[in-house]
């Protein structure tokens, strides 16, 4: 493989001419190594699991519309709750960010493809068997894994979860993890080696920086999850006892290993979103990004400190108090680089010339909601308060302000922003804005009340609840339906626009010089291999 060269090689040349009619043949998709087609497939896969995971969430909220309802039985509730988390994290957020990165990063750095196009295809196609394992487990004896996306042993051990559900969950995550690791190597090599002449690191667009740092996190964190999953699998199938107290193992070990991956995973899901926001805000403010270097350094800072805070998920586990104090301090420190980002974004739009198109609405919505998730994050770093609300709906509210208000809002900002570039068509602006308002308002109606029931003491992951929590839960359920309507509009808009939308010019957003990036200098969608002659950046 010609890893170090600029050329995409013969496999990419065979794609020439295919990009304009991507639906002409199934084999174009099956055998492609074009980063753009692979990126598009990631996005489709992501939204498939987003729809499934979202429907699960609506079912869960329907079950919780009142105390003692019987929409779902407890077994099914726990399975759907576990798959909702697993799908949204491993099969929606992470892949769709990989997809947008796949499509956009090579163009933004002025490359013709990823460094390893075939590995890139493998990364994507690994997700299909992974997803099939997850989905099929629901229809097997005993159903899907039901231990939450955290799957703590001994509950996830064979004695307490005897069916094949957990085994398939482990193997599915293994494949998804392998896909991530291969993708991470590919992204890091691409961004470090394939930048166009003159594209120095300090000229790298913010989205590329955040993808680069995110992929480094994946490279260091995901193998740890793979190790932990393997230990759990051998405990279940081959009689080892890493996590079994009855044979000298320790369930708390799983919690350490799991969160050593899963806290950095939050940044894996949020940092590329922050990169997209850092790109969208300047474009629609017609003003250069404020504090570029500060934003890069704060991203790197979050990426590094993110590895030192996993213990804050374990404050009620019984860790030594001095260890807990360390994790508490480290978690608070994260707020400093996060704050730098938030102030820089506000300074970016301050004095700008703001155009409130859908991507901009989502970007501003992101900042407004992420501030809430950030504030509750600081409180959760304080051990005594965390112990009080740990494993209650307060945490559910916090994580949804970070991952829904953060990652998802950013994904929508990026998707609306790049939709014309990727599809070559314009989406319907009115429907896009309606989607934004339903999402922004519905999101707050759904998740804000969860802070309150959490503080009152309602634990998470319960299929029914005592009557005193009823009113807030009804509000949350109502909000989730508002979100459901919004997402329906989104899918209608996207599908209709793909089919009938107006043709998009090279640069539908009319970037000013200070905010434009290379993808807006080529056609929509870009030609195979992106650039006839490689751009030179001055």
């Amino acid at each position: 493989m010609n890893a170090g060269t600029m050329s995409g090689g013969p496999h990419a040349q065979s794609m020439t001419g295919a990009h304009r009619k991507p639906r002409t043949g199934i084999s174009k998709w099956l055998f492609t190594t074009d980063h753009k087609l692979i990126g598009v497939m990631y996005i489709w896969l992501g939204f498939f699991f987003f729809a499934v995971g979202g429907l699960f969430a609506l079912l869960l909220r329907t079950q919780l519309a009142g105390p003692g309802l019987q929409v779902l039985n407890p077994e099914l509730y726990n399975q759907l709750m576990s798959l909702h988390g697993t799908f949204m994290i491993f099969f929606f957020t992470i892949p769709i960010l990989a997809g947008l990165g796949n499509y956009i990063v090579p163009i933004q750095i002025g490359a013709r493809d990823m460094a390893f196009p075939r590995v890139n295809a493998v990364s994507f196609w690994l997700l299909i068997p992974a997803g099939l394992m997850m989905i099929s487990s629901m229809f097997l004896q005993g159903g899907a894994a039901a231990g939450g996306w955290t799957s703590y042993p001994p509950l996830s051990d064979r004695q307490y979860s005897p069916g094949p559900g957990v085994d398939l969950w482990i193997l599915g995550l293994h494949l998804a993890g392998l896909s991530s690791i291969l993708g991470a190597i590919n992204f890091v090599v691409t961004v470090t080696n394939l930048r166009a002449p003159g594209m120095t690191l300090w000229k790298l667009p913010m989205f590329c920086w955040t993808v680069l740092i995110t992929q480094c996190i994946i490279l260091f964190a995901t193998p740890v999850l793979a190790g932990a999953l393997t230990m759990l699998l051998t405990d279940r199938l081959f009689g080892t006892a890493f996590f079994l107290p009855s044979a000298g193992g320790d369930p708390v070990l799983w919690q350490h290993l799991f969160w050593f991956y899963s806290h950095p995973a939050v940044y894996i899901m949020v940092l590329p979103g922050m990169g997209m926001i850092s790109q969208v805000l300047p474009v629609f403010a017609s003003k250069r990004l404020f504090g570029y270097k500060g934003l890069v350094l704060s991203t790197a800072g979050i990426g590094f400190i993110g590895f030192l805070v996993w213990g804050h998920h374990m404050f009620s586990t019984g860790l030594d108090p001095s260890l807990r104090f360390f994790f508490s301090l480290a978690s608070m420190v994260i707020a400093v680089p996060t704050g730098v980002k938030i102030w820089s974004w506000i300074a970016t739009i301050w004095g700008g010339s703001l155009r409130f198109r859908t991507p901009m609405l989502y970007a501003i919505g992101f900042v407004a909601l992420f501030v809430i998730g950030g504030a509750t994050g600081v409180w959760l770093a304080l051990v005594p308060f965390d112990v009080q609300v740990h494993d209650t709906y307060f945490v559910v509210a916090h994580l949804h302000y970070v991952l829904f208000g953060g990652s998802l809002m950013a994904i929508f900002a990026g998707l609306y922003y790049w939709f014309p570039k990727i599809s070559g068509r314009l989406y319907n602006e009115k429907l896009g804005q309606a989607h934004f308002w339903l999402t922004f308002v519905g999101m707050n109606i759904t998740f804000m009340p969860m802070h309150f029931v959490g503080i009152l003491g309602m634990p998470r992951r319960i299929y029914t609840y005592p009557a005193q929590y009823t009113s807030w839960n009804q509000v949350a359920t109502l909000g989730s339906y508002v979100l459901g309507v919004g997402m329906l509009l989104f899918f209608v808009n996207m599908l209709w626009s793909l089919w009938k939308g107006r043709r998009a010019p090279e640069d539908p957003w009319k970037h000013v010089d200070a905010t434009t990036t290379l993808e807006w200098t080529v056609t929509s969608p870009p030609p195979a291999e992106n650039f006839a002659t490689l751009p030179v950046i001055r």
Binding site: P154, V340, G351, P384, F385, M448, P459, R461, Q468
Partner: protein
Amino acid sequence: MIHGSPRFRYTLMAVAVIAALAAASPAWAWWLDPVTPVAHEVRTLFIKALALTGGFFILAEILLLVAVLRFRARPGVPAATFHDNLRLEILWTAIPAITLVILAGPTFTTLKYMETVPKSDLTVEVIGHQWFWEYRYPEYGVVFANEPLVVPQGKIVAADVSSIDVVHSWFVADFGVKMDANPGRVNHTWFQVERTGTFRGQCAELCGVLHGDMHIEVRVVTPEEFERWIEQKKRGA
């Protein structure tokens, strides 16, 4: 096109709805009415955290709103061109950092306070099962399950928390107590309830199918009543 004013109206509407719901909500339990010294401390710490971080939160949201309302694109008004300001950047790095150092102080003292189990008047062993709680009073030789835990008012109760099967978590919000029940380990916590009454909680760590039904009830009675109750229990009633 969305203009500033509808956005503002939406915001006002949302604030009004949330305020109305907040006013209509049930009592804020430990938050308004903490019943143990630890719960008092946790509440004090939370208020400090709210005060210290609330300013930043409000400032950020207000600046964002002002920017959205003020800097809408107008023909003939060009965008500003500034894009860095080292002094400002140092300032907005340093001030939050100093604030967090200030917040770390009470966090540490509260943590130390809740972690140090004082000399206790009574020890109870709390053992999680799928899906019920077993309680033991080793000083009295009393063991039972599926019934409320009974403790004397004003006495320091040390709880040794463990599990027989999967991970559970013993959680009574009013007490400010949440302690994981890990199989193969014993965790120590304590509480001292200031007034009599019945307090409810439930298992806080997903423990299987009926996790949602694993309730906790603690009856806090006067010390005299406790003596009578424990004597009765010892006789096997």
